[in-house]
Symmetry: C2
Subunit: 141 residues, 2 copies
DNA sequence: GTCCCTGCAAAAGTTTTGCATTGCG
DNA sequence: CGCAATGCAAAACTTTTGCAGGGAC
């Protein structure tokens, strides 16, 4: 139901299945390189290009989600396709998932204001995580 | 008041001022490379590293904003520092600014649910732009 | 005189693509 | 037999960093 729906189902080859398994089993949001390393553990011999192309394909079919958590230049992947958002720590860069939904009035307002037919959204909340504590940076940084 | 506040003001050298001018004058959200090209027009001889470092510095001081519109791997810059969000077309990749605010109850809910002290957020709405039209993809494809 | 900034160039990483081989339909 | 997928390796880009020269204070 997402963009670029899977009209033609993805052929789930053993390699692609392994990639999908790894992404789904990951609680963090690994980069392509990290996924490659993990898949290599259970299926030695697989090439990076295969993993890379599989990720793009799976993402296009909505089986995994591509993320930009803002840490420079690396796309991350999320095996959780149910709608959810992310919170990123402005201090240490850690992140967490969070389930919230925006009121439909917001999407409507955006559609009206811009003329775009809004179908979805990605929210990245920013804040300080519990580990970094409520205190601001101490004197010596 | 943002993260990494400007305790020590940025020294606004001619090069940095030129970079800031260009970013502020841009209605689109150019990448570092694009900004470099534009600055080169009005100030030939400036180096890419200078532009690149200036952007990082300006962003750290809150004078410009770094964006990830999801188009692969390129950070984009926004000279508009007032709070606003973006809408990206799922079809052609075009985007537009939009001014909306999330109800504070949302941020509160996220704080409670995750333990992160939420201070801000970035929303990327997805939808089809007016140019791409309301029609879904025709039979072919 | 000291320190920061600039420019040029190279390094480090990611993301993409080409191509011959392999396997499945 | 034909086509798509895989692996290896090389491109194409972005993002960062090192250094010597120059200017500002």
């Amino acid at each position: 139901v997402g963009p670029t729906s899977a009209q033609a189902p993805v052929r789930l080859t053993p390699q692609r299945a392994a990639v999908l398994d790894v992404v789904r089993a990951s609680r963090d949001h690994p980069t392509a390189r990290e996924i490659f390393a993990r898949v290599g553990t259970v299926r030695p011999g697989i090439g990076f290009a295969t993993v890379y192309r599989a990720l793009g394909l799976l993402a296009a079919h909505g089986l995994v989600r591509e993320l930009n958590l803002g840490d420079g230049a690396s796309v991350r992947y999320d095996g959780n396709t149910r709608p959810h958002q992310h919170v990123v720590c402005t201090d240490c860069g850690s992140f967490a998932d969070v389930s919230v939904e925006l009121p439909s009035t917001i999407a409507d307002a955006v559609s009206t204001a811009t003329g775009y037919a809004v179908k979805g959204y990605d929210v990245r909340f920013q804040g300080r995580c519990p580990n970094c504590g409520p205190a601001a940076a101490p004197p010596g940084r």
